[in-house]
Amino acid sequence: MNKKLVGFLMIFVLLAGILSGCGTNSASGGKDKKTIVIGAAMPIFDDKWLSYLYDAIRAYDKEHDDVEVKMVDAKNDSGKQLSQVETFISQGVDAIIIAPADTDTAGPMVDAANEANIPVIIVNRKPDDKAMKKIYAYVGSESLEAGTIQMEKVAELIGGKGNIGLMNGQLGQEAAAKRTEGNKELIKKKYPDIKIVREATANWQRSEAITLMENWIQSGEHFDAIVANNDEMAIGAIMALEESGKRGNTVIAGVDGTIDALKYVKDGTLNISTFQDPMGQGKGAVEAAIKAVKGEKAPKDNFINIPFQLITKDNVDEFIKKWEK
């Protein structure tokens, strides 16, 4: 009995020693150089938008001698991603950045890292509330904000009053609900003279938006603006309005800043789009990881907001360049 107890205590002390040793090691950087090693588990390399996020992370690695990032591709397989995170843990990285292949399976990866006392930063894809509490920070953009800044610009262009139609994305999806909520919240707070005369879903689809807009036009309602949850639906509204010769001064706004949409912004048919900033998210994630390693306090609600950017004809070239790169 006694021997067992002593053995157990010895193992415990040893473990505690190793763990605390690890902690001081990475905090003070006991190695030759003060290098912070970050593991970045990314969902899929083959994605245009995400590639800018990856580029920003790589650029940070290049520009800073004291930071080294190891980036891996899960090929959209959450099982593979978990094993990649486990590899990072056994390699003893200082922090792990995860863009989950599947937000529902972020939990086990976070737990595994936490057990090894490695801070986790999740980027771009928001995990569930349970996982949110266990991570150092989530770096991403607030869908609600896309709706707010989009509506703010629309309100400015129509002079703070008028009739608008809202085109929703697929009902029940978070991005659709939040963007619409952002639209409505702003109207409620600041623009009592803007009236939502029509609201319906076109399921993110251009073709369905054409149908919806055709029907709205036939209803005889006048629209000062059409505010859509994404660019595809906004383009559908443009096509239907132009085909019927009823475009007039109608302001049309989308969200996403897709390459196709930027062309419409450039020729002036799409008035507004908003852009979720991948470079900002990538850079923000690395910066958060470094703060976590240095032992700085976690941000409020574990959330670091990377603001949406507004796209209009004035600054559209800047965004076109990003896609052409």
């Binding site: 083959d46 994605d47 245009k48 929703n168 009902l171 005369v197 029509r198 609201e199 319906a200 879903t201 399921n203 993110w204 689809q205 251009r206 073709s207 054409i210 149908t211 919806l212 055709e214 029907n215 709205w216 036939q218 209803s219 005889g220 309602e221 559908g236 096509m239 085909e243 019927s244 897709t258 390459i259 196709d260 062309k263």
Partner: protein, 332 residues
């Protein structure tokens, strides 16, 4: 003499009254009930919205349903054989991205159209061969195609839309001939062809025979496998045609195109009186079914009904149509 006569006369009268109801009015109602539903919707809407009956609105409705209507005609023929085709929406997407990639300005229009038709026929042939020769239920075979074709579309397009189509190609979706939009013309043409195919040819007779009793059809010497494969190829071709027109209409090839199109097409067929247990269904019925969906969508948008309620109402209409359909089947 008059007294004893009176009672038989009255019974005869009663009988004939009953038989008129049983033999002509009731079948007439169950056969054309769906037409009355459509007419009732149109009449009600013409009172509720003064813009509903405008020519432009009617043209809009027919053009809006022409894509789903074309797909639904292929699906109808498949369902008559007790089959199902879940792959329509994905075949539309695959056609969309592949055809868009060869329909840029300067490309041959004929080449693009031939490629599109080829893709549809090939996907249909795979569905048909797996179903007929592999003896795999069509639900599973076409579910596989639905998943795989969508994957192929995403793979080929890298998940992104393919813009920059030639004017001549876009004419298919946006063009107007003699005041009638091209998709409507194609819709009517395919409607006529499909109707003749199903009601006037050996192919049609065999299709109903396979649906009525596949075993019996085989015993009667019908080459069931060959006809099944041909039927799925035809359905695939119609999906591809709808896919090309929709691509032209929105002037971009999209891997996300046609999501849940198959369900709308099946709904149109079922509302139009096609029985999922096979052997029953007509092309005019399916066209009416598609029109009901189109008028319903248009009306609810015109009246500004919320999208949530729109879905609930559509669901209710589909189920009621099947209810009518199952009562009809019990009677016969």
């Amino acid at each position: 003499m008059s007294n004893p006569m009176s009672s038989p006369v009255s019974t005869i009268k009663e009988n004939s009254n009953k038989s008129i109801w049983k033999e002509s009015i009731a079948p007439f109602m169950s056969k054309y009930g769906i037409v009355f539903i459509l007419l009732a919707m149109i009449i009600v809407m013409s009172f509720m919205s003064d813009t509903f009956l405008r020519t432009q609105n009617i043209l809009n409705i027919v053009r809006q349903i022409s894509f789903i209507g074309i797909v639904a005609m292929g699906v109808t023929i498949v369902i008559i054989t007790t089959g199902i085709d879940l792959s329509s929406g994905s075949v539309i997407a695959l056609t969309s991205v592949l055809v868009a990639s060869v329909a840029h300005p300067g490309d041959s229009l004929i080449g693009a159209l031939a490629l599109g038709a080829g893709i549809g026929i090939a996907c249909g042939a795979v569905n048909g061969i797996i179903t007929a020769k592999g003896k795999i239920p069509p639900f599973i075979a076409t579910l596989g195609m639905m998943t795989a074709a969508r994957g192929l579309a995403l793979l080929f397009s890298d998940g992104r839309p393919i813009p920059n189509l030639s004017e001549s190609f876009m004419f298919l979706g946006k063009g107007v001939v003699a005041g009638i939009p091209v998709p409507i013309i194609v819709f009517i043409l395919i409607g006529i062809i499909s109707h003749i195919l199903l009601s006037k040819t050996k192919f049609g007779k065999y299709t109903y025979a396979i649906g009525g009793n596949e075993h019996a059809a085989k015993i009667c010497g019908i080459n069931v496998d060959r006809y099944l494969i041909f039927i799925y190829m035809y359905a695939g071709l119609l999906s591809a045609i709808a896919g090309m027109m929709l691509t032209a209409r929105i002037s971009v090839g999209q891997p996300s195109m046609g999501v849940s199109f198959e369900l709308d097409a099946i709904a149109a067929a079922v509302i139009g009186g096609t029985s999922l247990s096979g052997g029953v269904g007509t092309i005019p019925g399916t066209i009416i079914g598609a029109l009901i969906i189109g008028v319903l969508n248009n009306s609810l948008d015109l009246l500004g009904v919320s999208s949530y309620w729109q879905q609930i109402l559509k669901g209710a209409i589909i189920v009621s149509a099947v209810l009518i359909d199952s009562r009809k089947n019990k009677k016969s």
